[in-house]
Symmetry: C2
């Protein structure tokens, strides 16, 4: 019933068994530096057979590559770390980097004063790379030099830093088009906070879609929370009482709006349709069922983590992941 911890096999063992030096074995295994095809194959075979796995700790010590991927989240307060969306990013990052012997760390980046923290991260020898979440253009532009090439962004993009995000431009267009197609003519949107650049595409997309249909643009600011949805829908109804659809930047906000509408006795979707974005679990189980669009967080986070680890260093550019409309009863 017990499982003794047999001493692990080291590079020395592999080298000896393959009849080469440690240096040669290292080169053959890592692929860095020259090595004869025959030797390489032999060493790899021996390593495989012995079940050799390079010790990430030793490797990190000598190469300075670090032992953990930091998920750094920009926000006003450290409370941004308590977030269901972020938790999925962290979990996925853990799965991806775990496969390479690396761990994950979580760091809050103060919105108004990110530099001290960033500098500290860049100096921290344990940091293998960083996944920037909800970050700003300023942070991306002023990234410490030593973090360049091993930092990626989820959301905002820049010329230097590769970014990964849901294609919410498309997601929003499809959702708002759905509202238009189903006969809605006065569609308001509750947006995200102004400082965040990632939902910009969504807001632009809403405005464009609505305008293209000859309908009025009605936007009210929010901050991704349920409370913002509650407050937002009140403001919408105050400013434009004839609104017949509310589109929210995310499901949490949409659910807040939905709750208020029901409290006010408005029929959903009879009087007012509601749609959101993200397809969180609660969207499916809440009252009428919330119409929304999917947000492939795990795919995005996995791609981001991969990019950090295998730093292809191919500069900036956004990789977008598709979002799909999920029609439920609310719209």
């Amino acid at each position: 019933m017990d499982h003794p911890g047999r001493p692990p096999v080291t590079l020395e063992h592999v080298a000896r068994a393959a009849g080469v030096s440690r240096a040669t074995a290292s080169r053959a295994l890592t692929g860095s530096g020259p090595s004869a095809a025959g030797t390489r194959e032999r060493v790899q075979a021996v390593a495989e057979q012995l079940g050799y796995v390079a010790d990430p700790v030793a490797r990190a010590l000598v190469s300075g590559r670090g032992t953990r991927v930091v998920v750094a989240v920009t926000g006003m307060t450290a409370d941004v770390l308590d977030d269901a969306y972020l938790a999925r990013v962290v979990t996925t990052t853990a799965r991806v980097s775990g496969a390479e012997g690396l761990g994950v760390a979580l760091q809050w980046l103060p919105l108004d004063r990110p530099w001290p923290t960033l500098e500290q991260l860049s100096r921290d020898r344990t940091v293998a790379g960083a996944v920037l979440v909800n970050t700003t253009a300023a942070v991306l532009a002023g990234l410490p030099r030593s973090l360049r090439g091993r930092a990626v962004s989820i959301g905002a993009s820049s010329p230097d830093v590769p970014a990964f995000d849901v294609d919410n431009g498309h997601g929003v267009r499809v959702a708002v088009s759905h509202l238009v197609r189903s006969g809605r003519r006065r569609i308001a949107m509750i947006t995200g906070p102004a400082w965040l650049s990632c939902p910009e595409a969504g807001e632009a997309s809403y405005a464009a879609t609505v305008r293209a249909a000859g309908l009025p643009v009605r936007m009210v600011p929010g901050d991704f929370t349920v409370a913002a949805g509650r407050a937002g829908v009140h403001e919408v109804l105050r400013r434009w009482p004839d609104t017949d659809a509310v589109y929210a930047v995310c499901d949490d906000t949409a659910l807040g709006a939905l709750a208020v509408l029901q409290e006010l006795g408005r029929q959903v979707p009879g009087d007012v349709a509601v749609a959101g974005f993200d397809d969180v679990p609660a969207a499916a189980s809440s009252g009428p069922g919330l119409t929304t669009a999917t947000h492939p967080v795990e795919q995005i986070a996995a791609a981001a983590a991969h990019a950090v680890l295998h730093r292809p260093d191919r500069g900036g550019g956004v990789t977008r992941f598709p979002s799909e409309l999920v029609v439920r009863a609310s719209a």
Copy 2:
């Protein structure tokens, strides 16, 4: 706008500045081994002033203490890693171990074949310790020797492994008592899966509370999912049509039950009261608002992570964290 990565200060620098050897500096800083009070203070002052932080990588290499805390989750399939509750545990573990320069890893432990994975973990030099989630008595009893003393459990306990859990015995008692006090007389419970020992206290508590009030015990098995709540409430109504309250092992299950009851046209709480456990976000925002009891996951996970890192090695024993009743409209 740029932040150069000044070379980090090493133990060598501190030692030199304090006029001692590296070994002495190390002893003074770590507190292991003898060191004169005066020397210790001086070294610590210098270290502080220089902003010295021991490199966890080097430390791990030589001491074999590892660089990451593994959160190991028992379950039938790897799907258990996709779970909101677990995500909170991971996030919290990341915050706690992050402060010490360590990362977090996530590992699935197959319910029916945990040993190969456990053995591998015990051999992995990067593993500083393990937080076992949803684990079984068998795993705890057969833990590889080298993992002892640096593994803790969230949930199940054993004589050897310290455990941390919510006091759900008390939480359930309070919730079920609330149902009894508000006039419910035929209270059914939808439980968790049989192999999991952690909700046992809750089930026993339900049975005891209900019996003490002279009421019948009505239990139906589930598995923590929304689907289990849907199926469970159907079975409850089939077997005991006069049931006037459903208590579920967790909020997800309670929400499933609630949805079915509403679909069937039963008034909640008029005809049937519903209560759950966990106080998930959806409990507050769902339809009538779900009565439940809090589950201080972050506190529990933080305590568990601390215990792993500072391995006091003080054997088994459970530390329980209080749960509080949250009364909403559903009961």
